[in-house]
Symmetry: C2
Subunit: 299 residues, 2 copies
């Protein structure tokens, strides 16, 4: 495959992926950019400047492909900046490969540390409520399965990412209740803590995550259950609610028969305002939010 | 079919029906009881007292079959009381048929009047948000389609009753957005008023309705959109949140693959507390609730 065809295929893959979270997709983007650099270098023997310009364009297209996901924007920006600051390299493609690998490792370490810090908030035997699938939340459960925790998880219509989490929790032998989104208000009362991942942390403290997160946060607040957002700092964005795009996917996922005057809608992300959030957990530690916490002293 | 077999089949039908609302099922129960009386009378030539006793037993079983639905309890109780008060009749079966018909007509008139009163709250061009399927809400839309209203409706997983409403709104040419429950908080902001039906109105002013109603009420309150419960007074119950049963249906409806440690849950009803409700609309008029109303002067 020629470099341009490879880039187009990669862009399509990132646009259409509904299986992976924002961090996982950002890692995949870095791999694609490094591979694109290698193909450009191998085939076109381009000089450093032309190759860098091609990378900048590919990166911009990848960033625009998933506008609700800050880690794609942030990690790719760091990648380009470090390439630009390094000056002319003997082998730009090799340098791109190394920088992409480094950033992926950095991000993975941050996710792992975030999961560790989140685990410290969970008490023995606690029931954890989460929504959709997040690799950070999956890592938290992996750390916690010896603490005899239980889980409440949502199916996360229409993508049913909850099923993926259910498989992982089943393998970890964590007793789990699997519910429709509509039952959130019934099961929040049986939970001790809500932990959710995020796609983007906005500048005003609000959080972009899979649609339904906002309802869960309101229900948690109403039930007096603390609601924590767990994400590494690569998810911090300088955007606000005013200039963040919420991706809408094909409405065929709702499987509604075509009818005149009826439009099925399928917005994948919503914004949970700061007022419902009890705290933010990242690799740097736990930052208090504004929503009251039942046990401020911890479990 | 012998009377006892007929009664068993009827009971099974009522237990398993997930298509019809509480009022429609109550009407069906009255038809079943009248038909049971006729079959008992035709075949067994039972005397009045024995027949009435059999009816009392069948009615008790029907009431217990759908504990979350007050109109079944109320209309069947009125039926039995009127049979008991009438004294020995020449033809108990004919009397049962007449009383059942009378109560069904009474209930239908109350629903119609409720729908008319609810319509007075809706302004020209308003967007009405509703959840699940309610025959009262369907009647409201039928009255309103000349007012150029629009609608936001939920699919109502796992039963997908929203699809039934979508078909009716499509026939009425009402422009409608059809969403997953998870998107409630996104679309409530584009709505002017929430109208929902109810299965039961509890003594403390809280409302039993299809699961998800509670989340919708919270989201409406948060967005400053008035939330009205529309139901005829046959749905008023003397029960409270403490002694109302919320029906749970088969979890196979969630279509989750069987996995150890994972239990799918399927509770069909939830309770919306009084604090989120702006008003109650019945055939007797509009009663103010405690949740603030954006335009107290009406549309």
């Amino acid at each position: 495959m020629k470099p341009q065809a490879f880039a187009r295929a990669g862009l399509r893959e990132i646009k259409q992926d509904q299986r992976h979270g924002a961090s996982q997709l950002a890692h995949r983007c870095l791999q694609l950019v490094a591979e694109y650099a290698r193909r450009l270098h191998d085939i076109e023997k381009s000089d450093g400047d032309a190759l860098l310009e091609a990378l900048v364009n590919f990166v911009a297209a990848l960033q625009a492909a998933r506008p609700s996901m800050a880690p794609i924007e942030n990690l790719l920006r760091e990648f380009i900046e470090s390439m630009q600051n390094a000056g002319p390299a003997a082998d730009v493609a090799e340098s791109a490969e190394q920088r992409a690998q480094y950033l992926i490792e950095q991000s993975k370490r941050a996710i792992f540390q975030t999961a560790e810090k989140a685990g410290s908030l969970v008490g023995r035997g606690d029931t954890i409520f989460t929504h959709s699938f997040s690799s950070t939340i999956a890592a938290i459960f992996q750390n916690l399965h010896s603490k005899s925790v239980k889980a409440v998880i949502t199916e996360s219509r229409p993508g049913n990412e909850g099923e993926l989490l259910a498989r992982q929790l089943s393998a970890l032998k964590i007793p789990t209740q699997y519910i429709t989104e509509a039952q959130i208000s019934l099961f929040i009362r049986r939970s001790d803590i809500v932990l959710v991942g995020a796609d983007t942390l906005l500048a005003d403290g609000s959080v972009v995550n899979k649609t339904g997160t906002h309802l869960l946060a309101m229900a948690a607040f109403d039930a007096g259950v603390p609601f924590y957002v767990c994400c590494e700092s690569y998810k911090q964005s300088s955007r606000t609610q005013m200039n963040i795009a919420l991706e809408e996917k094909s409405n065929s996922e709702l499987q509604l028969k075509n009818m005149p005057f009826i439009e099925a809608r399928n917005i994948y992300f919503d914004i949970t305002p700061r007022k419902w959030i009890s705290g933010y957990i990242s690799e740097q530690g736990i930052r208090r939010g504004v929503s009251p916490i039942k046990n401020p002293e911890g479990p």
